[in-house]
Amino acid sequence: MLAPHLPMLQVVVPLLMAPFVVLLRPRGLAWAAATMASLMAFAIAIVLALSVVGDATLTYRVGGWMAPYGIELRVDAFGALLLLVITGASSMALLGGQRSLERALPPTREPYYFSAWLLALTGFVGIAVSADAFNIFVFMEVSSLASYVLIAGGPDRRALSAVFKYLIMGTVGATFYLVGIGLVYMMTGTLNLADMAGRIEAVADTRPMIVAAGFITVGLALKAAIFPLHIWLPNAYAYAPHVTTAFLAACATKVALYVLLRFDFLILQQHLSGHAFQFAGYLMPLAVLGILVGSGVAMFERDLKRLLAFSSVAQIGYMLLGASLVSVSGLHAAILHMFNHALAKGGLFLAVAAFAAVTSGWRLEQIGGIARTMPWTFAAFVVCGLSLIGVPGTAGFLSKWYLVTAALEHGALGIALVCVILLSSLMAVAYVWRMVESACFAPDFDAETDADSTPNRDFAAFSHLLPTILWIVALANLYFGLANALPLELAKSAARTLLGGLP
């Protein structure tokens, strides 16, 4: 009986749990409720993913109203893959992060934090399932406001200034998007994405449409932290509570990228003449610059979390590069990389959360000798790191392989792109090695000699759940590197849908 309602329940479950969580005062209860809701959402996402394999699309009419008049939900392969990433990241981070969060948050604030977590989850899944341009805006704001709260929970005061910057840039991005869909709505009279795609042809080359395409792309690029607009990201990720970072790094920017790709390919691409060229022409250089600059900065960054954040900027570049090839194989690689990168980066940040339970900080010299203190956690960290580099046998390898194959279809340009990918992979080797080096070979960090850190060997704060979860993620990195039928199939079908118009 519930099966047809699953796309809706995906949103409703975390949405209705969020207000409940605010009321749960005793310690740990809010966490338990949030985790339960998140796991339920994860289960729903798995069912949805299994039911859309093979180019199926699920739709749902909210309130029973037909599509262009009411709001429609639509889950296709792309959405289902993203739902897996979002709910999976949220569940893993919550399961593993209980102790870490308990330490970071005063008890009176805990219920608000977990409520905000569920609201962020609601926002992300709300965007992923929505097929209505304005509805996407609303849920984008839900997710953004909640993410600001999650990041502001960081212990350092720099979290506050980082969040403020994020708030300003995020709101500007969302408002640009709102201007863009406003102009499209003005010219087509509709907000439903499918209806929009059908009606846009008549007004394809009018000036408002071109300006609208610009506003939408820039607005979403801000949210997705595409290269020159990424400046909010490193600090926001670095000063957030570790578990927040693990969650947001795995899905926040990808959701914006998802909307960008859907808008550009399903609606603008096929109907505006020359738009395919513009999309590739503007975004490919940005993608390449993002890859090189992100990896380059990461090589010299001394703060572990900032290093990983800059590496995220580079990885978003990969996804964008795949998309800017405007071919099925390129999109396929980009979408697959969304999934794989979430696995790798989520795992890495979770490992940082585990390290932080025993170290005094997360600058590279402060994690010195961590490999001896926590060998298992460190091993999982290395596996995720290898996946980030793209070593064969890990999930990260596959998406890079597909990306290289897709690039090679483009002749000389493709070869240049492959060189960029190889160069950046070498850079990734360098920065992953720097982390490994300081963790294995650097002398144990002596907190007493360091002025601005407090000695902190608080093993009590370190639960056994976190390494377990970490290893599940690390093994997933290996598993999806070998037998990755589901994400591969979903990504392929998503790429076909994006390039083939709406089914």
Partner: protein
């Protein structure tokens, strides 16, 4: 008449960019939030303008009127206004915390303090 009919959109463009200027050029955090609200108000104006129908009335049926301006942009903007005030409230709360933590609400002074 046609030019007059576009005036609303020009005001939208000017307002949008005035707000945006305050966001990017002013170092004061409260001023940035003020700019942000202006920036969003401009978008509201744009939506409401294209919902207007010549000779129409407010979309409340049953007063004998037959032509109505479009209700949909109004609904969207009602939602957007609420989103805007929510963002402002959260932003101001952040500003208060920043003031307590840094003793300043000027962006450059905060950056100086953050620099290692």
């Amino acid at each position: 008449m046609d030019i007059l009919g576009l005036y609303h959109y020009w005001v939208f463009a000017v307002l949008l960019m005035t707000g945006f200027y305050a966001i990017v050029a002013k170092p004061n955090l409260i001023k940035k939030l003020i700019g942000l609200s202006l920036f969003q108000s401009a978008v509201f104006l744009c939506y409401i303008t294209f919902g207007k129908l010549a000779g129409g009335t407010a979309p409340i049926v049953g007063k004998g009127a037959e032509l109505f301006s479009s209700p949909l942009p109004q609904v969207l903007i009602l939602t957007a206004i609420v989103v805007s005030i929510s963002t402002t409230a959260l932003g101001l709360a952040l500003v208060l915390r920043i003031k307590e933590a840094y003793g300043s609400i000027e962006e450059d002074e905060i950056q100086e303090q953050d620099a290692p």
